[in-house]
Amino acid sequence: MAAVAEQTVGKSVCPGDVLMSLPETGVVRIGGGVQQEGEVLVATKAGVVQQAKGGKLWVEARQKRYIPSPEDVVVGRITDKHSENYGVDVGGPFRALLPVLAFEGATKRNRPSLQPGDLVYCRVETAHRDLEAQLSCMDAAGKASGFAHLKGGMVVEVSTTLARSLLSRPPAAVLSALGRSLQFELAVGQNGRVWLDAPSPATVILVANAIQSSEFLSAAQQEALVAALLKGSSAAATRRQQQQQQQQQQQGDE
Amino acid sequence: MAGQREAQSVPWFADERPAEVIADGVRLDGRSLEEFRNVFLKTGVISQASGSAYAEFGHTKVMVGVYGPRQSERRVEYSEQGRINVDVKLASFATRQRGIFGQSPEERELSAGVQAALEAAADLASFPKASADVYVLVLEAGGGELGVAATAAALALADAGIELFDIVVACSVSRVDGCLLLDPSTDESFREQGGLVLALLPTSNEVTQLVSRGRWSGSQLREGLELAMGGCAQLESAARQCLKDAVVAAAAKQRQQQQQAQA
């Protein structure tokens, strides 16, 4: 079954392109951007055909608008507060709901206190086109495992495709390159939002620039990009240091 | 279209309005003073509407469509009673001078007048929170629009199956040079010193709408109202006949269909 799809995987398609005929036996699992049209499977979005290990076939489209899907990790922003739920903007068509008890260790008495505007890193628990998406700050086992209220830092917006590639394993070249020489915290949401924090604002900005510029670059190009950015910033840092020293000297002279 | 300047146009009339409308007790169209124009009433004229009616009094031609009772379009406060919304519109060519775009003050007044005439007749408690939308289009305004529209609208409400305490019949009277004219035409009411429109629930003799203009002495007014009430009584039988005919026709149609189905 997977063999039938093999020759289409990795190809660029656009809406209306026939991906494959339905096999006479067996099951084909399809994801976003693929629809059954009679006897064939057809692409409904422009992008690259991908196949997951389980055989699921989807079209990876370069998309800005996020459509929630179960098990996605997202960076959301609290929009409103209710007794049982938080309303969260995840960039989808509708607001998503984050139950106040969906945090590790939360009880009716001991619940997290989030304010509208706060950022959370969470997981999409359920998503259905007719219902509001349900979020959770716990993994399936009920552990926090990294999901939390994001304090400080800043958020940059990227395409959903880039977000997915940043989350891929092994890590994207740009991230490993940055990680080798800088210290920073990072949370990537599949909704195209990347949260960043670092001890120095300069680092945050450098990382943000690197990530946003890396979308259409090969691994080698990404390495080069990071190298160039780091060089520029260290040069700038040296210059700044020199200026400070000069100023101090001048003050000392006076 | 856009950007092109529209030159203003002005109406031009081939004929003047007549200065005299009565001669020797006979009106322009040959009627006697207390005679109606030819009256034609029919219900069920609009296939899409819940209820509808067409009324023709001489040159005055009015069509009414009723939709509902349905959910109120505008968000209105909660009410145990239903609402009747009336919108009266004159076709642009219905009057001597071409009508303007948008609702004219005259249309607004007609809408309010018809609404008042109907509200007392309908059992508003039978459709709480909902509204019955009554849309009236005057195809030709040949005089006495308010009365004709109210009569037709009541028939349309009845056709829509909305519960009514009674039907509403309405007619107009004009006073021209001291004579009282029943069911005046446009030319006649243009020359009137006084005019009135009366809407009645005929069974209980209840006035649901009374509008007058011009100066009336007490006795003139009493005479005028009596004439109007007499007119309403004549209309009542025509209106009831119209509703009966509709029921008979519907029954006949159903029988026919059943026969067809059996065959």
């Binding site: 809406p15 026939v18 951007g33 064939v40 057809v42 | -």
Partner: protein, 236 residues
């Protein structure tokens, strides 16, 4: 027979398509055919702002057509309706119920065939926004020259359209394209070389034969545009 700008009768003006020009929109595209150019942007699927625009079963499509200058008149309303109904035919609206997809088409320059250009721009922008589509949709304009010797002109300029006896704008669904060789036969049997005329608007007088020739020639022109649109869509 050459045309005023040196084209042959069945030749389309130079076509360009740029995607993703607008950062605020969820998708955008500028489609240019010779001197006519339209910029389309897509926002959505988003939550419908009013219940009037909300459909429990499918996404609602809203199209705004903005002329280069001047007020929006009934011609623009007609264009909006035609673009909306044509796009509705290709959007898989049931996938995003209760949402609103807004398409705004801004005319950048108009040298004839602006409706066809606007339709193509709207379709390319929908692809850019990754709104799920059944297939692409491509439109052309056509002109029939006056007189017995009059020729059928593909993609006429404004001057050609003004001088013509009749003009028409037609949108078609392109034949299903298969990426894998083995199913291409199946794909062909689905479309079967059909005309696949989705939308049509004509003005002026034509004979029956002229109309049939026009829609057929339009189909061939639209296929070329669709191929170009596919190519543009595949470039990531």
């Amino acid at each position: 027979m050459e045309r005023a700008d040196g084209r042959r009768p069945g030749e389309i003006r130079i076509v360009r398509c740029e995607r993703g020009l607008l950062s605020r929109a969820d998708g955008s595209a500028q489609w240019t055919q010779g001197g006519t150019s339209c910029l389309a942007s897509v926002a959505g699927p988003t939550q419908a702002p009013t219940s009037a625009k909300e459909d429990a079963e499918r996404a609602t499509l809203e199209v705004v057509f903005k002329p280069r200058a001047g007020l929006v008149g009934s011609t623009e309303k007609q264009y909006e309706a035609l673009i909306r109904r044509s796009c509705e035919a290709v959007i898989l609206a049931a996938l995003h119920p209760r949402t609103l997809i807004q398409v705004v088409v801004q005319v950048v320059s108009d040298d004839g065939g602006v409706l066809a250009c606007a339709l193509n721009a709207a379709c390319a922008a929908l692809v850019d926004a990754a709104v799920p589509l059944r297939t692409l949709c491509a439109a052309v304009s056509m002109a029939q020259e006056a007189g017995p010797e009059g020729q059928l002109l593909l993609d006429p300029s404004a001057a050609e359209a003004a001088a013509a006896a009749a003009v028409g704008t037609f949108a078609y669904l392109p034949l299903l394209h298969s990426v894998s060789e083995e199913v291409s036969a199946a794909g062909d049997s689905i479309s079967g070389g059909d005309l696949q005329l989705l939308t049509s608007l004509t003005r002026g007088r034509l004979t029956s034969d002229q109309l049939l020739d026009m829609v057929e020639a339009g189909r061939q022109g639209a296929d070329r545009l669709a191929a170009f649109m596919q190519q543009a869509a595949r470039q990531v």
